[in-house]
């Protein structure tokens, strides 16, 4: 056997789906099982697609008559999670950086250290001090606007490019027959809705997914909403501020009741509640859920989001104090680490899962090629 860990992970999902396809009890939980029943064989592309369609809700594990200790040892959420890690690293662009996923904790630590070193050194070089009070919390006194743009824009742009190229290659492999851009409007709308509403964390009955045991709860879905929409509000805050700056020539710092500050504050609070709650849930998750080897990636990403929001809110709170410069340095370091690791960490799950949801929305509108009788 010369198969590598990626092949083994795919083969394990294929083995389990052969059992699932002969059982089908979980069809009502999510899209994975209806998508499975349209297939008889599970090669790498099928497994990659189904693994990313899986939201790791845990419902099928607790409902499974073949779950451990049964000798069939079916644990679909765990087998799928293992494949997803390989998806992210196999499709990463540039390919050489794919291995960063395998050492996600180290990657995050390095990125954060880099960000900190960068901004602390910059502050020293520019201002001769890490501790600085600026009139009316004007942080451009610490780092000029253009300097910050010239640092963050390329990193963010690179992250977008890397994720786009990765998911494009993923799409071509899982869906060679359909161009994503030609998807029927209804399919695209449905996939968008399912992604934004996290439909497949509702358990099929609307009561949510599993965490510590076979009880259903909407906690994870809601906390993920806090996280995602918090992130989007922060992004909106930055976008509005950019428009203010370039279009209207209104320069930061903005008033506490201004749109950028209101959006950023709301987003920051969301990004504080969401990740904190998700971390709590993650620590209490059932031991058979997901892939324990990915906990550093999951928890590291959550911790980085928390650091970003906490430092951002602290910066707002103490922007008129002498700690402003240090808080700014910390916040910028966190944001820089977040941007640097976007294409090589947990953030990627959203992009690949959205692609898988689009594939499902297209596929379910096509007739099944199988005729298994009485269907």
């Amino acid at each position: 056997m010369s198969a590598g860990p990626a092949e083994d992970a795919v083969a394990e999902v294929a083995r389990q789906l052969q059992i699932c396809n002969a059982c089908r009890y979980c069809e009502g939980f999510c899209a994975v099982f209806p998508a499975m029943t349209r297939r008889l064989e599970f090669g790498k592309a099928e497994v990659d697609y189904l693994a990313n369609l899986c939201h790791n809700c845990g419902a099928c594990l607790h409902a499974c008559q073949y779950a451990p200790p049964h000798e069939f040892a079916v644990n679909v959420p765990q087998a799928m999670a293992r494949v997803r890690l390989h998806t992210y690293s196999d499709y990463a662009w540039p390919p050489a950086l794919g291995r960063l996923y395998k050492n996600s904790g180290l990657t995050l630590a390095l990125a954060l250290a880099t960000g900190l070193a960068l901004f602390l050194a910059l502050a020293l070089a520019l201002n001769g001090s890490l501790w600085q009070r600026a009139p009316a919390g004007n942080f451009y006194r610490v780092f000029p606007h253009n300097l910050m743009v010239s640092m963050f824009a390329p990193v963010f742009g690179f992250a977008l490019l890397a994720l786009s190229l990765g998911v494009r290659r993923f799409w071509r492999d899982i869906s060679p027959a359909d161009r994503a851009l030609d998807a029927p409007r209804a399919a695209a709308a449905e996939a968008t809705r399912d992604a934004l509403a996290l439909k497949y964390l509702d358990g099929g009955h609307g009561e949510g997914c599993n965490e510590a045991d076979d009880r259903f709860t909407l906690s994870r879905r809601r906390l993920h909403h806090f996280t995602f929409y918090g992130f989007m509000l922060c992004f909106a805050s930055t976008s509005v501020a950019t428009i203010y700056h370039y279009l209207f020539g209104w320069h930061a710092p903005y008033d506490l009741t201004s749109l950028p500050v209101l959006l950023g504050t709301a987003g920051g609070i969301g990004l504080l509640i969401g990740p904190a709650g998700l971390l709590w849930l993650n620590l209490g998750r059932h031991r058979l859920h997901g892939d324990a080897a990915q906990q550093p990636m999951d928890r590291g990403f959550i911790a980085l989001l928390l650091l970003t929001s906490a430092s951002g809110l602290a910066l707002l709170a103490w922007r008129d104090s002498g700690a402003m410069a240090l808080l700014l340095e910390l916040h910028l370091a966190a944001v820089m680490a977040l941007f640097l690791t976007l294409p090589y960490g947990k953030f990627a799950h959203g992009v690949y899962r959205a692609a898988a949801l689009l594939k499902w929305a297209i596929e379910k509108r096509q007739p099944s090629r199988l005729q298994l009788g009485s269907e």
Binding site: Y25, E27, G28, T37, P69, H70, S374
Partner: protein, 482 residues
């Protein structure tokens, strides 16, 4: 330090006097426990399995056969009481109790709201089961999801639950339940519901029931589709203690499953649905029954017993490439060969005998227009036994074969009960001992099976037994107060 850590090794449940104990933690037991608890009784549920194997055969179920007079949430059209009863009468060959059967049928029309209240969720029929969309309400996530929901609800309503608690005998006083015994433990209660299943997991008992043919124990070649915990300990105890028995120990819900399935708990996925698309031969490579008699969902429940009647209790479903993709995918890959002698060799069958059987079948196929979704006109002529539908020559390579063995779901030998689910001793119903589920299913199912009726019986009589047990407790209290 006992004040801090509590009494070491003490079992708080052992000290309590319960109104009702329920023995068995599958669907019927859970329905009984929940119903008794709703009626105000204090309830202890004793499950012989450890927590991860709880639920008996219910963890492998998937639906409930439901009477309904109009379309409902997940049920199409209607399935009136009379049609349900006629279906049951047909599959059992009339070996049933109309009174008890109709009781269960009527309960199936009104139990689902109660099930929902206890957390069970339903879904439309699964892909590949369209034929059941009118008659059977499927559990979202299957039987284990149902079992989990009931356990959550039981815990929530204060039912005490003990796992790994196999009761080995009862204390009875002239047909009245006094206490249950587990090794050294003695648990008294005012009433008891027995819902501890059939005896299919008990290899010795199965051997004795089926006997020997040609010096070989027939039942040694059976596989058990469900739990390994249905040892029939209390069923045997009760029959020995004078409870009235019902049913034949060789009768069971028995289907033909893949011979490579595990001995226990193979569940649904080990079934093989290719039978009607090809031929089935025994170990002499001879056909023995009309594979195309009716749609497979209407025939799957007779094939276990058919295979049990063949030498060595083994058979082989043979198909050719034309059938691939036309039946639900089985869990194990088929044996595959380019020629019939090669296939015979792989299966350990006589090459010339298999070739002769297939040639004879191919020659007897009369053509017609093949339609797997209808009772088509593709039949054999001059062949014994005939194949009356979907008969097409096996002529497109590769050939495929699935080995088949009898797979026992649950046995029908049980204790006789009345419409109050009370266990009978010499024709007299016990005042406080009730039975529900597989241990009494033989009252309704003398033989044969139709999908989802086991859960109908378990749910209906579980609810009846739970209510009657609680009522027996209440009557006892009223008498004591009077």
């Amino acid at each position: 330090m006992a004040w801090f850590f509590g009494k070491q090794g003490a079992n708080p449940m052992a000290d309590r006097l319960y109104d009702v104990i329920v023995i068995g933690g599958g669907n019927a037991g859970l329905c009984a426990a929940l119903t008794a608890s709703e009626a105000g009784a204090s309830v202890l549920l004793l499950e012989s399995a450890p927590r991860e194997w709880r639920g008996g055969n219910s963890q492998h179920t998937r639906n409930l056969r439901c009477m309904h007079d109009a379309p409902q949430d997940v049920l199409t059209d209607s399935y009136p009481e009379e049609e349900y009863w006629q279906d049951l009468k047909k599959v059992t060959g009339g070996i049933t109790s109309e009174n008890l059967a109709r009781l269960a049928i009527r309960d199936s029309s009104r139990c689902r709201d109660w099930m929902r209240r206890h957390g069970v969720r339903f879904q439309p029929s699964l892909s590949g089961t369209l034929q059941l969309s009118r008659t059977n309400a499927f559990f979202l996530g299957g039987g284990k999801a149902l079992v989990n929901a009931y356990y959550r609800s039981a815990e929530h309503s204060g039912v005490d639950i003990r796992y790994e608690a196999p009761v080995d005998r009862l204390e009875l006083d002239d047909g009245r339940f006094v206490a249950a015994r587990l090794g050294g433990d003695r648990i008294e209660a005012k009433a008891c519901v027995l819902a501890c299943g059939g005896f299919e997991s008990n290899r010795e008992w199965m051997r004795a029931a089926w006997g020997q043919v040609g010096g070989e124990w027939v039942a040694d070649n059976f596989l058990i589709r469900g739990t390994r915990f249905n040892m029939g300990v209390l069923l045997k105890f009760l029959i020995d203690a004078g409870a009235d028995a019902v049913g034949d120990p060789t009768q069971s819900h028995c289907v033909a499953i893949d011979a490579r399935a595990p001995l226990y708990d193979g569940g649904i996925c080990t079934r093989v649905d290719s039978v009607s698309l090809g031929i089935v031969v025994n170990k002499r490579a001879e056909r023995f029954y009309d594979e195309g008699e009716d749609f497979w969902p209407k025939r799957y429940a007779i094939w276990g017993r058919l295979v049990a009647g063949q030498p060595g209790q083994i058979a082989y479903s043979l198909i050719d490439a034309k059938a691939i993709g036309r039946f639900m995918p089985p869990v194990f890959p088929p044996f595959e060969a380019q020629t019939l002698p090669e296939l015979a060799c792989k299966l350990g069958l006589d090459e010339s005998a298999l070739t002769r059987t297939v040639d004879g079948f191919n020659t007897a196929c009369r053509g017609g227009s093949f339609d797997h979704t209808a009772l088509d006109d593709c039949a054999t002529s001059g062949l014994a036994p005939p194949k009356t539908h979907w008969a097409r020559p096996l002529d497109t390579t590769p050939y495929y074969a699935y080995p088949l063995r009898p797979g026992i779901t649950f046995t029908y030998l049980g204790v006789k009960v009345n419409e109050r689910s009370a266990v009978h001793f010499s024709g007299r119903p016990s005042p406080n001992l009730f039975a529900a589920g597989e241990i009494m299913a033989g009252n309704v199912l003398g033989k044969g099976y139709t999908a989802g009726v086991g859960m109908t019986i378990g749910t209906a009589f579980g609810r009846i037994a739970g209510a009657q047990a609680a009522a027996a407790v209440l009557q006892g209290k009223l008498r004591a107060n009077a």
